[in-house]
């Protein structure tokens, strides 16, 4: 469902994306799925949950699970800095999930001519989270995350 919605959004004239930094790379997250962006805060660990699940936070009275995008992508564990943010995603299938990112860069607008689908290499986990690549006006490339794949539970 999530995936379908993203594709639907791509077909419209243009869409806005939040550009985030995770490790060396920059990724785009469709703004339609972003509920909120909050600063790093105390995370309560939940025993026996998947390794990339960091725990739960209190988001204005609601308990929201938080995952590390770095761990999910098989990168080095997060080092929390002043720039670290938790992006709260609202996904149809998975509900509300927080994703820890190194930094939030900017918001860009891409129209569908600037977005190209990528064929996924099933052997590489990291690439599988990317559904398409956007060419920014400045000439840079942004990998647009397949949020459904990000939120899907797997090691």
């Amino acid at each position: 469902m999530g995936e379908l919605r993203v594709e639907g959004a791509v077909e419209t004239e243009s869409a806005q994306f939040i550009v985030i930094q995770v490790g060396e790379e920059q990724y785009g997250i469709n703004i339609a799925f972003v509920d909120n962006i909050v600063r790093m805060q105390a995370i309560t660990r939940v025993p026996k949950s998947a390794s990339y699940i960091k725990g739960v936070i209190n988001l204005r009275g609601i308990v929201v699970p938080v995952m590390s995008l770095r761990l999910k992508m098989g990168l080095e564990p997060d080092e929390y800095t002043k720039a670290t943010r938790i992006i709260i995603l609202k996904l149809e299938q998975h509900g509300t999930v927080g994703v820890i990112v190194d930094e939030v860069k900017e918001v860009i607008t891409l129209d569908n001519t600037q977005i190209e689908k990528v064929t996924n290499d099933t052997t590489n986990d990291k690439v599988n989270f990317v559904q398409s690549v956007g060419k920014t006006n400045g000439g840079g490339l942004v990998s647009i995350l397949d949020l459904s794949a990000v939120a899907t539970e797997k090691e």
Partner: protein, 710 residues
């Protein structure tokens, strides 16, 4: 008339009436002579009909109408209650429930006329009069004869010819004179439509058509328009001018089907003389009134007709099919409970105001009065919580009252004799729990009826009474509500379960050796495990007990079974009274805070490290003579304990049913009221974490479900 605002009330009340009918008809089956029961059923059917009529649900109205007719006859002693009739009545209730479900979904009753039921009901009605020929009609008319004179003082004695009520004015008189001169006759005719007739207006139309072949309808009562709109009871009267003899005209009317009879006579000069005088003095205004009176008389006489004109609400245009269920879930709340709530809220506001003023006062007085205010606030919020919970509480009666009917049906299906005994229906539970508890209970009851109880022959052999007994007992036990389903049947055959489990590969024979009977019985709660050799319609597809267990656990409850072969089984469901807010003990393990529900805690003990013994490589302590296994929470929670290994242990003794265990924690914080928040499916892999709560400082603490650890 817009009736949509009453829809919720209608649905609620209809449910109540249906439930009441179910119960009463069951009672009637036991004691068919009980007039109180019959009267109660009659009243419920009558109210249902009236409500359905007002809301414009014609099909529902028709069906209840016929049910009411049958009971009217039973009440008058004309029909005896028979088993076949009870079955049909139950089918009617199912059909009504069908309508209700449809109304709830779409605010439309659907299109199922349930004609076979209406026919069956009419067959019952007609059967008793078979020998007496016209008996049903005659009987219905008989009371009419008694009542009618009172209602229409002006008319003549023969109540069948209601056309006498028609006011004849000078216009008619002129026509009459003219017709007389032409050799035509004036007839007054009253036509009776069968009570079971569904399309009365259509029949009336056919009657009018038939009449027009023989002459002309001068006047009708009710008006032609009202007749077309079905705004009449079971009869209408006409004044006809015709050249044919009266018999021929009446014959023509009777050719129309579903017409019970037509009675008429020739109008004479006298009719007009009296009438015109009457008409002059009273004018038009009295006419509707009298019509109503007559209608009331007729309805009372027939004891079956709609109470007040239901037709206005019955316009088909009002029934718009909607895609979504149109009704929200509601709780009916005692106004007193709301008053208490209101009072508490006002107290809360006062407390807030006092706090505000304290905050702006001098430093010297501040601290003392702050604490005072906070204590006050605390008591207010606790009371508030309690009364909100009370508002959410409903008796489980609404769920369990459908079970006697279910058992009755199963008795027929399974060919076993059984009886259901229920106590504690008034026990209250949170509405959300009550809504969810129905299915698990039904599973357990079916299970008892199908697997538990033996057939009558076997029971006889074993020296038990032929009729199997199933008990459903509910009661409150501390902060829990316990619901027990008990039967005096065969009990669970542990050996059979063990064999089956081995055969299915659920356990190995070696494992089976070491398992206690209780552990083996617990295997029944595993998915797809059914011991009954034969799969029956009622239970035995193996999708029962595991569903029961998971559903009850989802409600933070637990289910246990005790069984004795040959004597019976007892299934015990234990549910928390409320779900959202609990009293909890806050503890520290490592550097993390956790909450443990107070309801499962027995005591808290300080145990010297040296007191720990090893039994079968498991750590246990001895406490007041009993051996209790201990569970080190830091190991379960995968955190480093901050206490040195030889320091005294802080042990929280928890209890689940008759099992007891000690949870070792690092530190106690204290007791606190916590609001349970769901963790969601996303993170909750561990069964012993039942949720989370948000602490005063905004931090999230997890709630440990001690039941899952014991």
């Amino acid at each position: 008339m817009d009736v949509s605002q009453y829809l919720e009330i209608f649905i609620d009340e209809t449910k109540e009436h249906l439930q009441n009918l179910n119960t009463q008809i069951l009672e009637l089956e036991q004691d068919s002579e009980n007039m109180d029961t019959v009267n109660e059923i009659f009243r419920a059917a009558h109210s249902l009909k009236g409500m359905a009529g007002t809301m414009g649900y014609k099909r529902m109205q028709n069906l209840t109408h016929d049910m009411e007719n049958v009971f009217s006859e039973v009440r008058n002693g004309n029909i005896k209650v028979q088993p076949g009739m009870i079955d049909i009545l139950f089918q009617c209730l199912d059909a009504l429930e069908g309508y209700l479900a449809s109304i709830q979904e779409s605010s439309d009753e659907g299109t199922n006329d349930n004609e076979h039921l209406i026919k069956a009901l009419n067959d019952i009605l007609n059967s008793k009069g078979a020998s007496a020929g016209e008996a049903p009609k005659a009987k219905e008319e008989a009371p009419a004869k008694e009542e009618a004179p009172a209602a229409k003082p002006a008319s003549s004695g023969d109540s069948k010819e209601k056309w006498h009520e028609i006011k004849l004015t000078d216009t008619e008189k002129n026509l009459y004179e003219k017709a007389k001169a032409d050799g035509m006759f004036f007839y007054g005719i009253t036509v009776y439509v069968q009570e079971s007739c569904i399309l009365k207006a259509a029949r009336a139309f056919l009657v009018f058509k038939a009449l027009e072949e023989h002459g002309e309808v001068i006047l009708s009562k009710p008006s032609t328009q009202d007749i077309e709109d079905e705004k009449f009871e079971n009869d209408f009267s006409v004044i006809v001018v015709s050249g044919d003899p009266l018999e021929k005209v009446i014959e023509a009317i009777k050719t129309v089907s579903e017409i019970e009879g037509a009675y008429g006579s020739l109008l004479t000069d006298a009719d007009f003389n009296g009438a015109s005088a009457d008409g002059d003095s009273d004018g038009e205004e009295t006419a509707p009134e009298e019509k109503k009176e007559a209608a009331a008389a007729a309805s009372e006489a027939a004891k079956a007709a709609p109470t007040t004109a239901p037709a206005p609400a019955a316009k088909p245009g009002e029934k718009k099919p909607a895609a979504k269920p149109v009704v929200n879930r509601t709780v009916r709340v005692d106004i007193e409970k709301l008053d208490v709530l209101m009072n508490l809220v006002s107290e809360l506001i006062i407390a807030k105001n006092t706090l505000v003023s304290t905050a702006s006062s001098d430093d010297a007085t501040r601290n003392g009065s702050f604490n005072e205010q906070i204590e006050y606030l605390e008591s207010v919020t606790t009371n508030l919580h309690e009364s909100v919970m009370k508002v959410r509480m409903v008796p489980i009666e609404s769920v369990v009252s459908k079970f006697p009917r279910m058992i009755r049906d199963m008795q027929k299906n399974l060919g076993k004799k059984m009886e259901l005994h229920m106590t504690g229906e008034e026990t209250e539970l949170d509405r959300t729990v009550v809504d969810e508890i129905g299915d698990p209970l039904m599973h357990l009851l079916r299970n008892s009826a199908d697997h538990g109880l033996e057939s009558a022959e076997v029971r006889k052999e074993r020296g038990k009474s032929e009729v199997g007994n199933i008990f459903l007992d509910a009661y409150q036990d501390g902060n829990n509500v316990v619901i027990e389903v008990r039967d005096d049947g065969n009990g669970i055959d542990v050996a059979k379960v063990r064999d089956k489990a081995i055969q299915r590969g659920t356990i190995t024979p070696e494992q089976a050796e070491n398992m206690s009977d209780k552990e083996i019985i617990d295997l029944l709660f595993l998915p797809s495990f059914s011991t009954k050799e034969q799969v029956s319609e009622i239970s035995g597809r193996g999708v029962g007990l595991d569903v029961v267990k998971s559903k009850i656990e989802a409600l933070s409850g637990e289910v246990e079974v005790k069984s004795k072969l040959g004597v019976g089984s007892t299934w015990t469901i234990r549910l928390p009274l409320t779900l959202a807010i609990i009293q909890a003990l806050m503890v520290i393990v490592g550097d993390e805070k956790y909450a443990i529900s107070l309801s499962s805690i027995q005591t808290i003990e300080d145990i010297p490290a040296a007191d720990i013994k090893l039994v079968e490589a498991k750590e246990v302590i001895q406490l007041r003579g009993s051996v209790i296994p201990i569970i080190r929470l830091n190991e379960v929670l995968e955190v480093e304990s901050k206490k040195s290994p030889d320091a005294d242990l802080m042990v929280v003794i928890v209890k689940k049913g008759d099992k007891v265990a000690g949870l070792v924690v690092d530190e106690l914080i204290g007791q606190q009221e916590i609001v349970i928040k769901s963790l969601g499916k996303y993170v909750n892999k561990a069964k012993f974490i039942s949720g989370a709560t948000i602490l005063g400082d905004g931090e999230v603490a997890l709630i440990i479900d001690a039941n899952a650890l014991v």
